[in-house]
Symmetry: C2
Subunit: 327 residues, 2 copies
């Protein structure tokens, strides 16, 4: 079995790759080869017995998608995207990478299908950014996609393309609408949503963190561990059960910032909570009032996708996966 991961240098790409190595296969099949690509060449995973190819690519450059498909990977994880803030600020680059790059990939697969019947599984990382305020709570599976960012627009368009290419039989595709991933490992970043992770990750290691929004803000979260689980399940499940509706809102946990903080208190104590400094930021408050408070995710749950059911569990997953089991 040959796996191609596009966007393999990102957090999700690295974690999915490591999970494949740890599992020594995918869906009971041995993995012979992994091709890991991103705008910078990803690291080869430690401990993989098969062949690893790492490449630095620009997916939207002419010929790149065809080159990636030339070796006919069996499963393609497509996680590559420029992030929301950059896609909003650089309109042309956002459409070039997030839309044209995805369409080029789908087209390369289609042409390979037409040439020799090639029919891979395609697992696409979509986003809750496909919906836009005003939003009900919880958001039903059949709620319309009216994104309020170019990033969300590009993800919503990619979802439509994925469903249509799948319906025509060019590949077997599934789109995974990821909740906000929390707790993101690493260092605080400039993403407007970064505080959801910062206010937990930093105090867990004795560092201060800034909370720029009121405690009452409600949002939709899942752990990186669950996100990896979504991708593995998406890559191995029987997709016939989805019918033509190939894009699924994933399960997650709807929680207010206050609920996040109380979970931190239960797991790590008052001293950890005392490291959170409140510095309201009107720009971030305005943005996050438009973010998704939570989804029903009825279909995804029925199809076997699972996520944490408490913020305590999300914090414990971070402690186990990133901190060696103890804060």
């Amino acid at each position: 079995m040959h796996i191609l991961t596009i966007g393999a240098a990102g957090m999700l790409g690295r974690k999915v790759t490591q999970r494949l190595v740890d599992d020594e296969g995918l869906g009971g099949q041995k993995i012979d080869a992994m091709t890991l690509v991103d705008v910078v060449a990803p690291d080869a995973p430690a401990g993989f017995a098969g062949k690893t190819t790492t490449l630095a690519i620009d997916l939207s450059a002419p010929g790149t998608a065809a080159q990636l498909i030339a070796t006919r990977p069996d499963v393609i994880f497509h996680f590559a995207a420029i992030v929301s803030g950059e896609a909003e600020a650089d309109f042309e680059k956002g459409y070039r990478i997030n839309l044209d790059g995805t369409r080029d990939l789908f087209e390369a697969i289609r042409l390979a299908h037409v040439a020799d019947g090639y029919f891979p599984r395609v697992v696409f990382a979509s986003s809750i950014a496909v919906v836009g305020a005003p939003l009900p709570f919880p958001i039903p599976d059949d709620f319309h996609t009216t994104p309020l960012t170019s990033y969300g627009t590009q993800k919503a368009i990619s979802e439509l393309l994925l469903a249509d290419y799948t319906r025509h039989g060019f590949f077997d595709g599934i789109g995974i609408r990821l909740p906000t991933l929390c707790i993101r490992p690493g260092t605080p970043n400039k993403a407007a949503s970064g505080f959801f992770s910062n206010i937990l990750r930093e105090p867990l290691v004795g560092k201060p963190a800034v909370l720029p929004v009121p405690d009452t803000i409600r949002h939709w979260h899942t752990s990186p561990r669950s996100a990896v689980g979504f991708m593995i399940h998406a890559a191995t499940m029987d997709l016939a059960a989805l019918g033509p509706r190939r894009n699924l809102s994933m399960p997650g946990l709807s929680a207010t910032v206050a609920e996040q903080i109380e979970a931190l208190r239960r797991v790590a104590g008052d001293d950890a909570v005392a490291l959170i400094r409140r510095e309201p930021d009107p720009a971030i408050i305005r943005m996050c009032e438009g973010w998704a408070p939570g989804f029903e995710a009825t279909r995804a749950r029925a199809l076997g996708f699972t996520a944490e059911d408490s913020f305590d569990a999300i914090i414990r997953a971070h402690i186990e996966d990133e901190l060696g089991g103890a804060p």
Copy 2:
């Protein structure tokens, strides 16, 4: 005022053009020039005092969109598309015309906006094909777009692009999701949905017509006259009221085939109804069981869009507009 109509040779394009000529303007403003384009050069309308330019174009050919925008039309009606059956059968052509053609147009406007602040009104003809079965009845305004045709996919993607380009301030756009137009003038065509019009239009002039589906099939209709009204209203109303959700399901009439036939009986008598011959066609039955039974269209009605509230009115509109007032 300068009007550009893309797809001006089609039924809707011709009727909107004639309405503009009859009204001697748009929204109280005099029309100085009309540019009418299509894959074949449209006829110049009779009785127009301003300048008419007619062009045969391929919207998706390099440079075409920029050429159309070079004269900076104030209002752009974008009706051009290849139809559902052709877009399904010829995958590449469908995407080239219905998606790339639309995107090229939007891009040409954006580049003109960046160059000199150009900011036209763009009225886009979308379709109820953006939704796909299973469907509730009535379909709410916030129902998701899960099209079951490439045509519907291309319209749904164009809607997303229109909303995003509008949100960025590149133009002032509105997408109009048209119901099935009934009664279509002309001769019976090969469109799978043609029978909805055939079983009324042909008996009204004493000719036989074939009904390939059961009387119980329910669908969503409006007259060509109402569709023209939608486009004029869309071109003249204050779009600020729409906020960022720029694509609207239009009002229409939800009716079964049986209700259509009873309306024909009331308007034209038993002899007309007797001209309808039942010839069930399993392929057409299968297709139309997936078509939209009707929409709430709450937002569009609140924004002043109006349509017929009975099939009698739809038939009478056809008699007045196409048959000189008498069957």
